[in-house]
């Protein structure tokens, strides 16, 4: 937008842009030349969670990498969180092009999500474009035709590749490579101890909700029934930890007070509990839990790394569109649609009949790429590109 028009139509945004825009002196082009790897997001501030998932592993690989973002707020946030890594910001494609011309040794770009602005980088044919994602989900968004713009798709396990095979379109130019889930390595190592024997025999529940979706048809959340469920099952647990999706209440304003309702209810029950803030790293919560209740989302596979029973809410009559792999939720998690169903299944499992244990372990390899994770396959692939 022309600056004068922006000043007239969006004066606050205009001033904000001026205040936040990185100064030219920060753009020291000569210092950019050694970089070989570029981690990119076209997302707004929500892109931080995607980048945060990968940056520690890029650092660990000891390669020359930089992070490139398209949102000023995210740029400043990243500079603060990671002061020792190079972060670049470009508002327009022209600015991005100028930076890219200063990176003669750049070999590959890594994308944690599909956004329209990825297009600006995809114009560089001499670079390898690699999708690395930000989790593993059965939702249809995890497999669609746009993925074909990339040269490679680094997946956790074989499941994501099967989803492509079953999606019904040709993806001949896309090479799928299994690299595991490096951010889950620590949890996978902890899961060597049987879930019943962790935490001195205590049973700690973690509840992870999704939000109510943009439209009713995409509403997969269990938040409206979870309080009733807790009333029926709370005595079974030594501790209940909760992390609600930060967008809860965006469409259904009556859900905005979900956190308060749950807090009040659990306080009355005199049970040890916590409701995590939106910034809490989910892996910290997973590590201290050995029973999980989740909605359909990528967190199910995060919990899978802990090799403990997972109860997944599948709403009835929603006609949920999931991309197909060899293993569905019902194969390795205890699915439920009602409170009664949840209570019955929890009783069975905690009563000693964890009948999905073997399938769950199979899913850990098939979905998460357990072996590839433990063998640091992601780091090895990063180093391969450098060489």
């Amino acid at each position: 937008m022309n600056k004068w028009i922006q000043f007239k139509e969006q004066p606050l945004r205009f001033l904000k842009d001026i205040m936040l825009k990185p100064k030219r002196v920060e753009m020291n082009y000569s210092s950019l030349s050694p970089y070989t790897h570029l981690l990119y997001t076209g997302e707004n501030i929500t892109g931080f969670n995607h980048l945060n998932l990968w940056i520690p592993h890029f650092i660990e690989a000891n390669i020359d990498f930089l992070v490139f973002v398209r949102n000023l707020k995210l740029f400043h946030f990243l500079k603060k969180e990671y002061p020792h890594i190079t972060v670049l910001f470009a508002k327009s494609q022209t600015e991005l092009d100028v930076y890219l011309q200063q990176l003669p040794f750049l070999k590959a770009c890594f994308y944690p999500s599909n956004t329209g602005k990825n297009l600006h980088l995809l114009h560089f044919n001499h670079l390898k474009h690699i999708f690395i994602g930000h989790g593993d989900s059965d939702k249809t968004a995890s497999v669609h035709k746009y993925f074909r713009v990339y040269d490679e798709n680094w997946t956790a396990g074989e499941a994501h590749i099967d989803r492509f095979r079953n999606a019904g379109f040709n993806f001949l130019g896309l090479e799928n490579i299994r690299v595991g889930r490096p951010n889950l390595k620590e949890i996978l190592e902890l899961s060597e101890v049987a879930w019943q024997e962790r935490f001195e025999g205590k049973i700690n529940l973690l509840y992870l909700s999704t939000w109510e979706g943009v439209v009713f048809e995409h509403d997969y959340t269990s938040v409206s029934m979870i309080n009733t469920a807790f009333n029926n099952i709370y005595t079974t647990f030594d501790e209940i930890n909760i992390k609600l999706h930060p967008w809860i209440g965006r469409r259904e304003s009556n859900l905005l007070n979900t956190s308060k309702v749950l807090e009040k209810s659990l306080k009355e029950k005199n049970i040890k509990f916590s409701i995590a803030s939106k910034d809490t790293n989910i892996n910290i919560l997973i590590k201290k839990s050995n029973i999980f209740i989740c909605d359909i989302s990528a967190v199910v596979t995060d919990c899978l790394a802990a090799n403990a029973p997972i109860f997944v809410y599948i709403p009835k009559n929603k006609g949920i569109k999931l991309s197909k792999s060899k293993m569905g939720y019902e194969d390795y998690t205890y699915v439920f649609s009602t409170v009664d169903e949840l209570v019955t299944k929890i009783d069975t499992v905690l009563g000693g009949n964890d009948y999905l244990r073997e399938k769950r372990e199979e899913a850990m390899q098939y979905i998460l790429g357990k072996e590839e994770t433990l063998q640091n396959q992601f780091t090895k692939q990063l180093i391969n590109i450098k060489n």
């Binding site: 329209g116 297009l119 746009y146 040269d151 130019g173």
Partner: protein
């Protein structure tokens, strides 16, 4: 402005939708395709992503199904409202294409625009589409040479349906004693050429395109006595001018265009004497062009112009760039029916 479905027919039978997501050029892209789609008995909608051009387009084409969507959710609503929809056409590769490319049940086809030469970038991003419909083999060669792995990309030659009539009208050669001249600058040789054509050769009338129309009076003064044989037009009238016939085209290295190949006429190109002709790279390869740098070379070419020794080369490039055979065979229509 939110979602606007006011132009969507109730119980529509739309099979295809054209996605128009340029920030400035939607009007031109739609004008390029709408008459072509109108020729065929299939229902099509036009999805516009910019509210300013949407308002303009519904005014220009009040009876067409022109829709507006701002967000990805709006796009989803529009797709769901067209239950028979099978294919989406894209005229430009834009950041908003991803909103449609996530629908796996639809076929995604890139068809480009009139300005494809300037706007196409032959990048890996085009691999997102299922098919790319191109005018001629040269675009396929460009894609294949631009990056190693074209993967699943289905590149189909459909010709240029917009210029079918031009091909048909110029199938046979008829001497009109009329010459088309379009030079970007006004080199002194222009006056010599005009003089030659009007006096010595004495059989031609001239259609002159000038970039600076203001100089036209000075020009007319210099060719006094022949002014009735010279028609002059500004650059923006070029497409109107081309609707009449010429014996040959005289251009320079900046004004030569692949579009002239469709007229099936000799193409003469003035090259400044200081430029090395052997290293010259023009839109049309040199071996199909009559290059000249002075009056003597020009006269030599014109003397033998009836023999037109470069015709076969020109025919080859007409097919290579413009897909003449596919255009005349209505390959575009066949592909549409095949959807």
């Amino acid at each position: 402005m939110a979602l606007n479905l006011s132009k969507l027919k109730t119980n529509n039978q739309n099979i295809c939708m054209l996605h128009l997501a340029s920030e400035k050029l939607n009007k031109y892209h739609l004008a390029y395709w709408i008459e072509i789609f109108d020729k065929y008995p299939l229902q099509i909608s036009y999805l516009v992503r910019d509210k300013k051009s949407f308002k303009e387009l519904i005014r220009l084409y009040p009876t067409h199904q022109i829709l507006f969507a701002s967000t990805p959710v709006d796009v989803e609503t529009i797709v769901n409202a067209q239950v028979l929809l099978k294919a989406v056409f894209f005229s430009l590769n834009t950041v908003k294409d991803i909103h449609l490319l996530r629908f796996n049940h639809l076929k995604h086809i890139f068809i480009g625009t009139k300005e494809s030469k300037q706007l196409l970038q032959y990048t890996k991003a085009y691999r997102a589409y299922d098919e790319i419909w191109v005018s001629g083999q040269h675009m396929i060669d460009k894609y294949k040479s631009s990056f190693e792995n074209v993967g699943h990309m289905n590149l189909k030659i459909i010709g240029k349906p917009q210029i079918k009539e031009i091909f048909l009208e110029n199938e046979t050669y008829e001497n009109r004693h009329r010459v088309f001249i379009y030079l970007s600058k006004l080199p002194s040789i222009l006056f010599q050429l005009m003089h030659l054509l009007l006096s010595s050769l004495n059989r031609y009338s001239i259609c002159l395109i000038v970039e600076q129309y203001s100089i036209i009076n000075n020009l007319k003064m210099m060719i006094k006595g022949y002014s009735s044989k010279v028609d002059s037009y500004p650059k923006n009238k070029i497409s109107d001018v081309l609707s009449s016939s010429f014996d040959y085209f005289i251009t320079d290295i900046d004004t030569i265009s692949i579009a002239y190949l469709a007229y099936n006429k000799p193409l003469l190109v003035y090259v400044d004497k200081n430029i090395d002709k052997t290293t010259l790279k023009l839109d049309i390869p040199n071996d199909a062009l009559y290059l000249f740098s002075n009056q003597e070379e020009f006269l030599e070419i014109v003397k033998n112009i009836d023999k037109d020794i470069l015709k076969s080369k020109r025919d080859y490039y007409t097919q290579y760039f413009l897909g003449k055979i596919e255009t005349l065979e209505d390959r575009f229509a066949q592909e549409l029916i095949g959807l």
